[in-house]
Symmetry: C2
Subunit: 489 residues, 2 copies
């Protein structure tokens, strides 16, 4: 009989191979968004498909399942091994619950819905998109039911989907969270004077690039194991154990767009760079939840990036690279402007979470079947009016604005708000341990990053998110923390 | 029984899958040389190893061998299918002649020799490198013998290796070629007045980058299916059916280094871009020989790039991007300076082929065993003195200057000279069909590229190189052609 050490070695080898193929897939995706020749789109699709097939083979390999059963039966693994085996088994059961036929139908309907979504945004006619979404939702429910049956999940189907991103989170908890957060945010919003649209602020892409490089380096993004590029939609991706890539975008008339996108992605990137490489073999070199990952990007983008001390410090780097830097007061107003906008990705910190609350309600109703797909556009506009007091001018700035549902991401949106509330809690806790304002004002971000390295980053997925938060910052009222932080600016 | 069409479809599917993985490997290699974070070297090595294992599995899959046997037995394939099957069978037999154990030993000794080579270049002590080369040569001979036995190759072992690059070429033909070329080149060399070292010509990397982009676009490199980047050693690689990438380098004090590297790689790149994509399924979307590929790079770099008309036209682009462009005469002298140098990659057009002649002799003697590895450094220096009248100052500028032998490339060097002589023949033939000087002087390169597209590029590997040359330019004396072209400048 194989020893536990031998079984474990096989498990590590499988994890490393899966990681290797996944990182190559990430490289192909990175290349596609940062500079692949336009004519190569068809090539890249075929390469992606080959990698997806191979990864599916490897992650659902019956030999891996048997190995997990054998490891689960042992009584001598270490604590870390026990955690790794439990998590891998949990993920394995969810993966194999979806048979190859269903997986293929899901892939096909996703591609159809994406095509219909792009078409609807161009033509304004959302009829074909609604038809595609109908089929998409039926299969998303079928997948969730299959996982619930195979894993004994007994909550709402929507909760099965939430666990694609944040294991352990329940819709009931999120409902309780939004029930307190939404009135608080609306209170802040009602008290704010609407400020005028800021003037255009033109800066060259080269100047913005140099600025973003300095900023990401200053906060602690490590270029010896990472790089920064330009893409239409900013993102962070890991292409290897020691290869984390972030991107940003340059708006011709607002360099602050690049500044905050860079801080956001640097937050994600530094989280990835801080994970202990020794965890890769155990399959634990990742965040325990999407929400926690988002807390790291929002921490640097908002909790730090929009603070008075940071905005004061920021004028230094801005002046080194840009032509027309506003004075201190004008810069502060630009950075912390609050305004009702129908578009989530353009929203300020306060309204942002109202956008998420709306999506959280609608997607629950879509999954439960309470809301028919045909009624979604009207439901969207009504919800927007109720929540933000706005009616979108058209579907493109309304129900069609996000890619998520068309891309089959249901249950993803709440992670953004979890990230926001946790980022606020991290800041308020950190202020009890470090002179945050003083450090930020001096551009000395290393102690702050060091704290995250120790309490969050290096732990990877060795603990679940609730335990990690408790260890790091104790029990806190996260909703109250976000309202406190927002009330300051 | 499967129909020929069914078998052919399986063959095409296998080719497309092999191509897909190969292109991903090319992407990983491109990334490694153009901007991968330095810390990711270990990651990339593991990814490369995984791809190499997968590609080896696919290319030596017994099912592919059976498929080829079945297809060979059919009497109803088309002419193109017949060519594809013949070539695939030829390659298949050579691949499977090398068993997995030998392949692994070859990979290991290559890695050891590369390490020893890098060490010897740093320390100047070539003892460990000679020891590694001893082992490397033994295994290279073992591989060549295995292929010769499996394929009934009855010439010298060295000729088996030549066919890794140029199928059908024999060392006897190359000996005859060099026996005429070398005296002719030495005649030109002896007649040239040694010109002084040119002055430094500093230009920024940004300016050189913009210049190289304009030049590659001007000659016809297609950026919709390609891109141009910077790397330490310029290269061309294909990452997809419609994705060909070239690189160049920027020397701080000589922008002409970038100009000619760019023309060289653009020549390779345009060849790749011109191959008919419909040939990929048949496995024929590649050059029939390394020498022919080299003829395309040398054509644009030398036959066109160093011609009086091109140098006149070049002053336009240079003036648009650079700060200190020499006058017409000084530029001409810089471009066509001839000087004896011990380093191949720095050599002018005349001495370049003398460097190759020397390597051709030495590598034949190494493979036959006539020259002992221990005697190689002295033999190198003596040959250099005989051929060029120079003794290298040290091993780094002598026997250790090239990576090829350490990287297990034996039989590759002659392709460079085949490229040079064929490029000259292409030029002299083209002058009988097109007003080449006039076109080049006007920067109108499209008719020239169009001619290559039709007669060379789009054909891929559907014909062997001798037939392709005959169809394109008839029977010509290639050695005389090169001497004629060199005699002009």
């Amino acid at each position: 009989m194989a020893t536990t050490a031998e079984l474990w070695e096989r498990f590590e080898r499988a994890n490393r191979e899966i990681a290797t193929w996944g990182w190559l897939q990430a490289l192909a995706g990175w290349d596609q968004q940062t500079g692949m020749p336009p004519g190569a789109a068809g090539d890249r699709q075929e390469q992606e498909a080959a990698l997806t097939r191979l990864l599916h083979e490897r992650t659902t390999d019956p030999a891996l399942g048997e190995l997990l059963v054998a490891l689960e039966g042992r009584d001598d693994p270490t604590e870390l091994q026990r955690v790794a085996i439990e998590q891998a088994t949990w993920g394995w059961r969810r993966s194999v619950a979806v048979d190859a036929g269903l997986a293929e139908r899901l892939a096909r309907v996703r591609s159809e819905t994406m095509t219909a979504w792009l078409g609807a945004r161009q033509t304004g006619d959302h009829g074909p998109w609604l038809a595609a979404m109908e089929g998409q939702l039926a299969l998303v429910r079928e997948r969730a039911s299959a996982i619930a049956a195979a894993t004994g999940h007994d909550g709402p189907l929507y909760d099965v989907l939430l666990e694609d991103y944040d294991r352990g989170v329940r819709s009931a908890d999120l409902t309780a969270l939004f029930d307190r957060l939404v009135p608080g945010l609306r209170g802040i919003l009602d008290a704010v004077e609407p400020s005028p649209e800021p003037e255009a602020w033109a800066e060259s892409a080269d100047a913005q690039r140099a600025l973003c490089e300095e900023l990401s380096r200053a906060v602690g993004f490590d270029f010896s194991i990472g790089r920064l590029d330009r893409s239409e939609h900013p993102f962070t991706t890991r292409c290897g154990l020691r290869d984390v890539r972030i991107t940003t975008r340059f708006l011709p008339d607002d360099p602050l767009g690049a500044v905050f996108a860079t801080l956001h992605e640097a937050g994600h990137g530094m989280y990835e760079q801080g994970m202990a490489p020794s965890l890769a073999g155990a399959g634990l070199m990742h965040a325990p939840s999407t929400g926690l990952h988002e807390s790291q990007s929002r921490f640097w983008e908002n909790a730090i990036g929009r603070s008075p001390a940071f905005v004061r410090w920021l004028r230094g780097p801005l002046s080194r690279h840009l032509a027309a830097v506003p004075d201190a007061e004008a810069l502060w107003t630009r950075v912390n402007r609050v305004a009702r906008t129908p578009i989530r990705v353009e929203a300020d910190q306060v309204t942002y979470n109202l956008h998420i609350a709306l999506r959280f309600q609608l997607e629950q109703a879509l999954i439960s079947g309470e809301l028919a797909v045909a009624d979604l556009p009207a439901a969207w506009d009504d919800a927007m009016e109720r929540t933000l007091g706005l009616r979108p001018a058209d579907a493109a700035t309304g129900v069609l604005q996000d890619i998520h549902w068309s891309f089959q991401l249901f249950g993803y949106f709440p992670s953004y708000t979890l990230g926001n509330v946790w980022a606020a809690s991290f800041l308020l806790h950190l202020e009890t341990e470090l002179p945050v304002d003083e450090l930020v004002g001096a551009g000395d971000f290393a102690p702050i990053l060091g704290w995250f390295r120790e309490h969050v980053h290096q732990r990877g997925a060795t603990v679940r998110v609730d335990r990690l938060l408790k260890d790091a910052i104790g029990e806190r009222d996260h909703v109250a923390d976000l309202l406190t932080v927002l009330g300051r600016s």
